[in-house]
C-alpha cells in the first residue's frame, strides 16, 4: 500500500509541469489573449469549426495585431456541455489569463459561466443571442440581440401578412421559451392571437404526436433547438401533410450550406427570420464571401458571419483603447463601436446588446443552388423590454 502511494505521487509529479504553465507568464506577456469556447465535439460538433473560421478570418485581416500588440487566439472545446464550458472558462481565465472570451453558444452554458466571468471581469461575447438576464452582469456583449429581440420580427411579419391566429411550437427549455416569447410578444402587440402553444422536450425525435394534434390557425411560429432537430421537424411536417404555413426562426438562412442543400425542393418557399444570407448584395459582403471561400474552401454562412462580426467589434474596441485589453477600458470602448459587417451595420446598446439588422427570408432556387432571398428588413431590432 505504501508503494501505491509513492507511485501515485510519482505520477502526480510527472503531470505537474502542465499545471505550472500559468505561472510567470502574466507580466512577461505582451500579447492579447482571446479565448474562445467552441463546440468541437458532441452533438453539434459541426458548429464549432464554423464559428472558429469567422474568428480566424477577422484576426488574419489585422494580421493578429492591434494597437501594436500581438493577438493570440486560444480555442477550447465545450463539447456542448455546460459543465465543460465552465471548466474551459476557468482554464482560460486562470491559466491563460485572458480578458476576452468569445462564446459559448448555448444558453445554459451562458448561465453557468456568467456569475464566474462577471466576478473575474472578463468581456464575454455570445455567439448567437443570450437571455436578457445576462445584461445585468454588465460584461456580456450579446450578439446579435437577446432571445426575444431575435424572434420579434417573426411575430411582426406574421401580422403584416395578415395572419390573425398563430400556433407557437418550440423546444421546452429556457432558450426555447425565450425565442417563442419573442414571436408571441410581437404578434400579440400587433393584435394577433395565439391559439395553441406546443412544447416538446429537448432532444425530441418523434414530432408526429405534436403534428397530429395541431389546432386550426393561420400560421405556425416555431423554434427547434438545432439543425438536426430542425431537419427532423421539417421532414415530419412534410410527411404528415400539414398545410398551415411555417414561419421559423434562427435555423433558416443561418443553417450552413451542407444542411440547406439537404432539405430538398419541397421546402422552397419556406419563410423565416434570418440574420445573414450568403448572397446579400452589398460590397462588403461580396468581398468577404470571396475571401472566406478562398481561405477555407467553402462558402460561409450565418455562423461564420456571427463570429466574424463579433471579433470585428472587439477588434474595433481594442483599437479604440490603443490595444489595452483590461476590462475597465475595453467595456466603455465596446459600447461606442459602430462598424459595418457583412451582415449589415452594427452598433451596441448601453446594455451591451448589439443592434443589427434582422431579415425575413424565403428559400428559393437558382439552377441547382438553394439560396435565401431577403424579402423584408427590420432595422436595428431591439428587445421590446429594453426600449422601456
Amino acid at each position: 500500500m505504501k508503494k501505491f502511494v509513492i507511485l501515485f505521487l510519482a505520477v502526480g509529479l510527472l503531470v505537474s509541469p502542465v499545471f505550472f504553465g500559468g505561472v510567470g507568464t502574466a507580466h512577461a506577456a505582451k500579447t492579447i489573449k482571446i479565448g474562445s469556447i467552441l463546440n468541437l465535439t458532441g452533438p453539434i460538433a459541426f458548429i464549432g469549426p464554423l464559428f472558429k473560421n469567422g474568428i480566424v478570418m477577422a484576426l488574419e485581416e489585422v494580421n493578429y495585431t492591434v494597437g501594436g500588440r500581438k493577438i493570440e487566439l486560444i480555442p477550447e472545446d465545450a463539447a456542448a456541455d455546460m459543465n465543460v464550458a465552465l471548466e474551459k472558462a476557468k482554464k482560460l481565465v486562470e491559466r491563460d489569463e485572458v480578458n476576452i472570451i468569445l462564446g459559448p453558444l448555448m444558453g445554459d452554458a451562458h448561465m453557468a459561466i456568467a456569475p464566474y466571468l462577471a466576478n473575474k471581469k472578463v468581456l464575454t461575447a455570445s455567439f448567437y443571442c443570450g437571455d436578457i438576464e445576462l445584461t445585468k452582469y454588465k460584461n456580456w456583449f450579446i450578439y446579435p440581440t437577446t432571445l426575444v429581440g431575435l424572434t420579434a420580427p417573426v411575430g411582426y411579419y406574421a401580422a403584416e401578412l395578415g395572419h390573425k391566429t398563430m400556433i407557437t411550437a418550440g423546444t421546452d427549455y429556457a432558450g426555447g421559451h425565450g425565442f417563442i416569447k419573442g414571436i408571441k410578444m410581437a404578434f400579440e402587440e400587433k393584435g394577433g392571437k395565439i391559439v395553441q402553444e406546443v412544447w416538446w422536450p429537448v432532444g425530441n425525435k418523434d414530432f408526429g404526436p405534436y403534428l397530429t394534434s395541431l389546432k386550426k390557425a393561420d400560421t405556425i411560429g416555431y423554434f427547434v433547438e438545432g439543425p438536426s432537430a430542425a431537419q427532423l421537424f421539417l421532414s415530419q411536417y412534410r410527411d404528415f401533410g400539414i398545410k398551415i404555413p411555417l414561419l421559423g426562426t434562427t435555423l433558416a438562412a443561418d443553417m450552413p450550406q451542407q444542411i440547406t442543400s439537404q432539405l430538398g425542393d419541397w421546402v422552397l418557399g419556406l419563410k423565416g427570420q434570418a440574420l445573414y444570407m450568403a448572397d446579400m448584395d452589398t460590397a462588403i459582403n461580396k468581398t468577404w464571401v470571396k475571401k472566406m471561400t478562398k481561405r477555407f474552401g467553402q462558402a460561409p454562412g450565418g455562423l461564420e458571419a456571427n463570429s466574424y462580426a463579433i471579433t470585428k467589434t472587439i477588434l474595433a474596441a481594442l483599437k479604440a483603447t490603443g490595444g489595452d485589453d483590461s476590462f475597465d477600458k475595453l467595456w466603455p470602448a465596446l459600447l461606442k463601436v459602430k462598424i459595418d459587417t457583412p451582415q449589415g451595420p452594427l452598433a451596441v446598446s448601453p446594455e451591451g446588446v448589439a443592434l443589427v439588422n434582422n431579415y425575413i427570408v424565403e428559400l428559393k432556387k437558382k439552377g441547382d443552388q438553394y439560396y435565401w432571398d431577403p424579402i423584408k428588413t427590420y432595422k436595428a431590432v431591439e428587445d421590446p423590454r429594453l426600449k422601456k
Binding site: F46, K205, G208
Partner: protein
C-alpha cells in the same frame, strides 16, 4: 377516433424503431451475458454508412440497410473477436471496454463524416403520405412498422426454431455441459454478436427516418435501448418487442396528452414496471 388511430400508429412506428434498437443488445446481454454499451455506437455507424450508400451514392434504401447492417456487424465482430472474447463473465471489464468504444466510434464518425447532421431519409417510393381516416399519414412510418414486424418474426424464428437458437439458450443455462456436448460455443457467440450488431446497424438506417443521423446518436440510442430492456426484460425477442411498442405508444400518447411532461411519462412507466416486476415484463424470474 382518427386521432386515436393516428397516435397509435405514431406510437407503434416509434416503438418498432425502439424494438430494433434494443433487440440485439437484449439478446447479447441475455445469451452471452455481455453488457455492450457500444450498441448505440454500432447503430450510429450503421446509420452513417447507410446514409452514404442510400443518399450520397444514390443506391436504394434496401442496399443502404444492408450496407449499414454489414458495417456495424463487422465492427461488432471485430470488437468481439479481438477483445470481448477474452472478457466473458467479466462484466466490469466489458463495461469499461465497450464504453471506450462509444467515445472512439463517435469521434471516428465525426472525423470521417464531419459533425453536421444528416437529414432523415427514406426510399423514394416511401416519401409522401397515405390517407388514413381523413388524415395524411406518412408512408415511411407504415414501412417502419412492416420492417419491424418482418425482422421481429425473423429473429423470433432464429431464437425459438433453429439449432442456433437452441445452442444459445442451452449455453445460457449451462455453458460447461453445452461445450461438453461438442458444441462450438465460441463460434455461436461470434455469430450472435455479429447478428446483434447487424440489427443495430440496419436499425440505424431504418430508424434514420425518425431519429436522423448524427454523431451523438451512440449515447442517446444506448439510453433508449436500456429503457426498452428494462420494461421488456432481458434476453428475449418478445420482451424487446413488447417493451419497445409499449414505450413507443406511451410516449406518443404522453406527448399528445401531456406535452410538457413528455420525458417524464416514459421514465414513470419504467419505474412502475420495475416496482411491479423488477425483471421486466417478459424477463426471466430471478
Amino acid at each position: 377516433m382518427s386521432w386515436f388511430v393516428i397516435n397509435l400508429l405514431n406510437g407503434v412506428s416509434y416503438g418498432m424503431v425502439l424494438f430494433l434498437i434494443a433487440s440485439g443488445m437484449s439478446i447479447v446481454l441475455g445469451a452471452m451475458g455481455i453488457t455492450n454499451l457500444a450498441h448505440g455506437a454500432f447503430y450510429m455507424v450503421g446509420a452513417f454508412v447507410g446514409w452514404t450508400v442510400a443518399v450520397k451514392l444514390g443506391a436504394t434504401l434496401g442496399l443502404g440497410i444492408l450496407a449499414g447492417g454489414l458495417a456495424a456487424g463487422l465492427v461488432g465482430l471485430a470488437m468481439e473477436r479481438g477483445l470481448l472474447r477474452h472478457l466473458y463473465k467479466q462484466p466490469n471489464e466489458q463495461v469499461l471496454l465497450t464504453f471506450g468504444f462509444v467515445y472512439i466510434l463517435s469521434n471516428v464518425c465525426l472525423w470521417v463524416w464531419g459533425g453536421w447532421p444528416r437529414m432523415p431519409f427514406t426510399a423514394k417510393f416511401l416519401t409522401g403520405s397515405f390517407e388514413i381516416m381523413g388524415r395524411a399519414y406518412p408512408k415511411a412510418r407504415i414501412a417502419i412498422i412492416l420492417f419491424g414486424l418482418i425482422l421481429g418474426v425473423g429473429l423470433w424464428w432464429l431464437q425459438d426454431r433453429t439449432r442456433m437458437g437452441a445452442i444459445v439458450r442451452a449455453g445460457m443455462d449451462d455453458k460447461e455441459t453445452t461445450m461438453g456436448l461438442g458444441i462450438n460455443l465460441e463460434l455461436a457467440f461470434a455469430v450472435i454478436f455479429f447478428i446483434s450488431s447487424f440489427i443495430a446497424g440496419a436499425a440505424g438506417v431504418i430508424g434514420a427516418q425518425l431519429l436522423g443521423v448524427r454523431t451523438d446518436l451512440g449515447m442517446e440510442v444506448l439510453l433508449l435501448a436500456l429503457i426498452v430492456i428494462i420494461v421488456g426484460g432481458v434476453g428475449s425477442i418478445q420482451g424487446a418487442l413488447l417493451g419497445g411498442i409499449l414505450i413507443g405508444v406511451i410516449d406518443a400518447f404522453g406527448k399528445a396528452l401531456f406535452p410538457q411532461m413528455a420525458m417524464f411519462t416514459m421514465y414513470l412507466t419504467m419505474i412502475i414496471v420495475l416496482i411491479v416486476r423488477p425483471t421486466g415484463l417478459l424477463g426471466r424470474k430471478i
